[in-house]
Amino acid sequence: MAKVWRANIFPFAPHAVLDTMKQSWHSFDMLGGTIVARESFDKEIQFLRLVALAGGAYNRQQFASRLGISVHTLDKTVRSLKQTLSLSSPHLTAEQSTELTEGLRYNYYESADPLLLFLYRAKSLKESESIRLTLLVSSLQERELTAKDLQDICSEQMPADVPAPDEKTIRGDLKYLEEIGVIARSGESRPYRYRAANDLIDQLTDDELLDLFDFVDVTANTQVPSVQGYLLRDTLKKVLRGRGIHALAADTHRYKYHYHSRILDEAHLYTIFNAVRQRKKLHFVYLAPRKGLNYASKNTNPLYEKESRNVTTILPLRVVFDHQYGRWYLIGYNDRTGIAKFRMEGLTQLEEGESVPEAEFENKLGRVLEQLENSWVTDTLRTLKVVARFYNPDHRSGVNFVRERVQAQGQWGKITEESEESFVFEIQVNGIYEIKPWLRSFGSSCEVLEPAWLRKEFISDWKEIASYYEPVRQNF
């Protein structure tokens, strides 16, 4: 009964799925007695993560149940996706569109474009608003205009079936565009004149622009955080194209062994950052990833919401990015348990709470940082000494890749003795759970010396693994 429904689930323009699914995924806030829809992207993030990580694994029923939606809703979604098949996304390269028809299989050999970035393009917007904002921004590209000029442009150029905006609407839009830095106001006296804030693009020569594109490309792909870098990269790529710079220009670099889904978790990064800066607590509902990729259905009726779910409250202090898996953790403090650690992928319904005094924040931060000091990733179990002998590869190969890797990845551990054939590595680390996979990844180039019980574990693990690959005996 393996996968019966694999190839036909994602023949889609990705934006359409978000729109369709979001209709049922708004969360609600009570505001002055009325219910206000507040757009939440929790489900989209989980949906995309599920597709990105486990793409192809589930049939309709399984997929729907893991997303917490009905099969009917899923079918409806898929139907609308098929209708929009012909309108494939202009943001995807040819290679990616082809890949999409087989699920979200990322082909990193072809392109450095981050496929999952479209999550951040999902904010819903009225048709009329998107037409108006675009008209304003495009009118201001090469000239300065007043609010009145812009209102005239809107009444002339907006489609007949969309009502022309009034002055108040235009002023509101300009205020918004100015706040987010897309346009700038010039002059001190009224009427103010506005212009697109495109100096970064306009003032650069073609050659400089190419260097800037490369810098943004490299940095977004190799550093965290990266979402804003990817958004900027998208824009610069279009500028290059607009200036007629060679079509291959944006396609010379690629990045291998990249954790593509890491950009989904950045969605929460700034909410956490703002809370930390203001020393505010955070409330959220945590869906422990340990329970599998299963997201319990969320009732969109506000009366039922949060009733059956446990809201967790912590004082957020730091986030940890784990390079071994490409995963993010939120580290905080909870009065009941002390240090609290959560995988960022399990955070939903994040909300800011009350703030705490500076001294309390500093005190807890100090304690947590001290506890994390010897964490391979986030483990805060008792600190112990791990000693391992690493064996150098055959020296004819010229490069000692074992030593290179231990030095590059061994964090604060030290090489204590060395001979022609081997060297000894020592580290004080919190528990062995997180360092063990790393030691094991060296295979027979690593022999654990201390602690003795860990050495025994390695022997028994390797025996077990050997049994996985024993040739099957035939009975004659």
Partner: protein, 280 residues
């Protein structure tokens, strides 16, 4: 500041595209300013470009800088991020990236001077540069190129390239070589199937994350309650794939892929030989 700002909405973006217009936000400029603070930015630009960029961004008023000032804190999100288990960063930028990418854009060939592992250099290596590749695990840049003399696809650390000179390539020759490279790349692709032991299904998320840096798809066999990861990789990546499989230990097992199975069997027996004094 929100990453889900309506200005990033796809309808707006595609409409802006139609009119050839652009919208650059403060948060993108703030990000860029932060990243330009990295010392390696020096290698990415001509000195005068860097001065110009810093000037353009310095004049920028970032809305969140005001908040930062009022709370007496730096506004850099990286202050709250702790990166763990990262490979020491050998390089983010390499001085050869700029000249090489320009040669590639012009569909040109190269003549390389390469440093050899045991010392010494090899001059006048002619070929076609294909891609500049950053290996996230090793945190290092490589040039993928086609060696025309030996007719083979090469991957050379930029660190080992002593000099690069452009060379002329006729358009037909460029086309011919590009097609040959594409065929060679395709021929190097391999497939393997890695099964998750059902006892470890509760760790599915962790295991899938560990393989998320490969081109892969997943299938699920309901009767056996087993997940299988179908990985596509290039032949020269098998060692990295193996290190991931060993990393996960008892949780996974290679189901298809003769070479990988052979290497896993070999590793397990060699590893046991290291411990043989106690218990063999």
């Amino acid at each position: 500041m929100s990453l889900f700002d309506k200005i990033f909405n796809y309808q707006i973006i595609s409409r802006l595209d139609e009119t050839g217009s652009f919208a650059l936000t403060s948060q993108e400029r703030t990000w860029l300013r932060t990243m330009l603070g990295h010392p390696e930015a020096e290698a990415a630009f001509a000195p005068e470009t860097l001065v110009k960029l810093r000037h353009l961004l310095g004049m920028e008023e970032a809305p969140d800088m005001d908040d930062a000032a009022s709370s007496g804190m730096d506004g850099d999100v990286r202050d709250i991020i702790i990166e763990k288990a990262r490979s020491r960063q050998r390089q983010v930028y390499h001085p050869l990236l700029r000249p090489l990418r320009r040669i590639m854009m012009a569909s040109g060939g190269v003549r390389l001077t390469v440093r050899l592992k045991h010392g010494g250099i090899k001059e006048n290596q002619g070929g076609l540069p294909c891609k500049l590749e950053y290996n996230m695990a090793k945190r290092e840049w490589y040039l993928l190129w086609y060696d025309t003399r030996n007719r083979s696809l090469m991957s050379t650390r930029l660190h080992h390239i002593a000099a690069v000179e452009p060379s002329e390539l006729a358009p037909e020759r460029f086309q011919e070589l590009t097609e040959r490279v594409a065929k060679l790349m395709e021929a190097r692709k391999k497939q393997a199937v890695i099964g998750i032991l059902p006892n470890y299904n509760s760790e599915l998320s962790r295991i899938l994350y560990a393989f998320s840096c490969f081109e892969k798809s997943v299938s699920y066999d309901e009767t056996a309650d087993q997940y299988r990861i179908h990985v596509t990789y290039l032949a020269d990546e098998s060692e990295f794939l193996l290190s991931r499989i060993r990393f996960l230990g008892l949780r996974v097992r290679v189901l298809e892929g003769g070479h990988l199975k052979h290497r896993m069997r070999q590793t397990a027996s060699w590893a046991l030989a290291r411990y043989q004094t106690e218990d063999a």
